[in-house]
Symmetry: C2
Subunit: 302 residues, 2 copies
């Protein structure tokens, strides 16, 4: 299972029905939170996200609509008795802010929190888990801001059942075959793993482009991604305003997805001035047909 | 108009239908925000509170459920183009936290923000407006925490219409009479103000007791208040837990109101473990009959 669930799709000014940026990436049993605007913990409860499975949190940048909900979420996890470590990634000052807030409240967390600062000079891999690799890259925004590439690697080899049966390998052993083990038969024959399995299926890639003005510097990261999230704060008639504010338009997001040869695009971070979102789709689809709105509560399978 | 509107009545763990602490005190044309838990800016929008009239913000203490929504609200006011100064009161570290968060976001506010640190040694009057006085006092909590006394002073003298007419004072002059002016008649007679008016009606007092364990140290502040807000995190069977955590129970809040000879009590800061709130009323009313629940969205006239 590799999917992303949208918790907030709005830009800085919250509205009554759209929340600031937050997404949950599900990678098998682990949940990864990407940005955490004010109210994210309530959205997590509303959409029944299993907080206990949350393992990694990534904060793209220190504009409030991307992290003001983080300290509240951390507090809540602690109050609820979490014991598993939590891995947090963000600009270095984030750690300072959280520490100061916890000191003032005399909070001592009930779990370990490991913070990794994101620095422009260290761009690259930050998570290398059994089936997931995460790396980060700089976007172009008013303050330092990073996007993330989530690479789900299929580790399990694909069993060819008729071959496995031909070598009389019992089904109970198939899970070990999938992990790459050979099979020792009682008659002394050693069945090599690659006689009965194929290499793992190709991985999947999700690219979160965070807040950014249009820049083709992102193309190498988004290249042939299965899913790209790109912000569209404005419709394209406000391209000038978008550039001034280091944001992007509908058409720019679609252009990036097309040039990157991505398979699918979801768009979000809509300015609160827009009550209707379909015009965003109408502007994107002529440029990149496989575009969808990032809708709160919706899950997009990658 | 002197009233309090509840925006959040829950304690630390938010639920889907109860928010962390925040209240708006209306004093004629001015709005005062008392505490500002996460999501308060959305509650302000939900209950159509006029943000432009917000003049003072008071933060009782630095537990997150009382201030995590503040930085987001301040940001939003700035994005919406506020120009009027904002007066903020809270523990001294609050200023440090806000400054750090604004620096990291490269935020420059579009309005002046005046911060007054609350310190145990300076307890007393912090606002002395034309019709409102606000003072603060220490409560007993795990970290420094303050309650607030809101005193609305009636400045206008009460006109006795039949007397005013007997002296042939035109109705157009009544507003000046209410301000205390004498009236010079064309025939040379000077009508002294106190011949035709009575002193202003007595003021009204609202006392916000913030988070606190039961302590009769609060009695002098709550004495004969028209309305007292006191926390009731727990029902009375959990009195021991309440004390351990520096919180209060239903019966304790009612006892305080009774001993203070208050006229009315509202209770809030309910633990999220309670889905039903009526047991709080059932425990309070035998001790202090004029008790009500602090319900979100409800306005209590003082």
């Amino acid at each position: 299972m590799f999917a992303v669930t949208i918790l907030g799709n709005n830009s800085a000014l919250p509205t009554l029905d759209r929340h600031p940026t937050a997404q949950v990436v599900t990678c098998n049993d682990s949940l990864l939170l990407v940005d955490c605007g004010e109210g994210t913990q309530v959205q997590i409860a509303r959409y029944k996200i299993r907080r206990s499975r949350l393992k990694y949190i990534f904060i793209s940048h220190l504009h409030g609509d991307h992290y003001f909900g983080l300290i509240g979420l951390i507090n809540t996890l602690s109050l609820l008795g979490r014991q598993d470590p939590l891995y947090l990634f963000g600009p270095p000052e984030l750690e300072q802010i959280l520490k100061l807030q916890m000191e003032c409240a005399a909070t001592s967390l009930q779990f370990e929190m490991h913070f990794t600062p994101l620095l422009p000079e260290n761009q690259g891999i930050i998570v290398n888990d059994k089936d997931l690799q995460v790396s980060y890259f700089a976007t172009r925004h008013r303050i330092p801001c990073y996007g993330f590439v989530f690479d789900m690697q299929k580790r399990k080899r694909r069993i060819v059942p008729e071959q496995a049966r031909a070598y009389e390998i019992p089904a109970a052993y198939f899970s070990q075959l999938a992990e790459g083990a050979d099979y020792q038969r009682k008659d002394g024959v050693l069945v090599k793993n690659d006689w009965v399995t194929l290499p793992p299926a190709p991985g999947k890639k999700y690219v979160y482009c965070a807040d950014t003005m249009y820049t083709e510097e992102l193309l190498p990261y988004a290249h042939q991604a299965d899913l790209v999230y790109h912000e569209t704060t404005y419709l394209h008639n406000l391209a000038e305003r978008a550039a001034e504010r280091y944001h992007s338009t509908s058409v720019q997001a679609a252009t990036l997805a097309a040039k990157a040869e991505a398979k699918r695009l979801i768009i979000g971070h809509f300015s609160s001035k827009y009550t209707e979102l379909t015009p965003f789709l109408e502007e994107c689809r002529p440029v990149f047909p496989n575009t969808d709105l990032a809708l709160e509560g919706a899950t997009y399978i990658i």
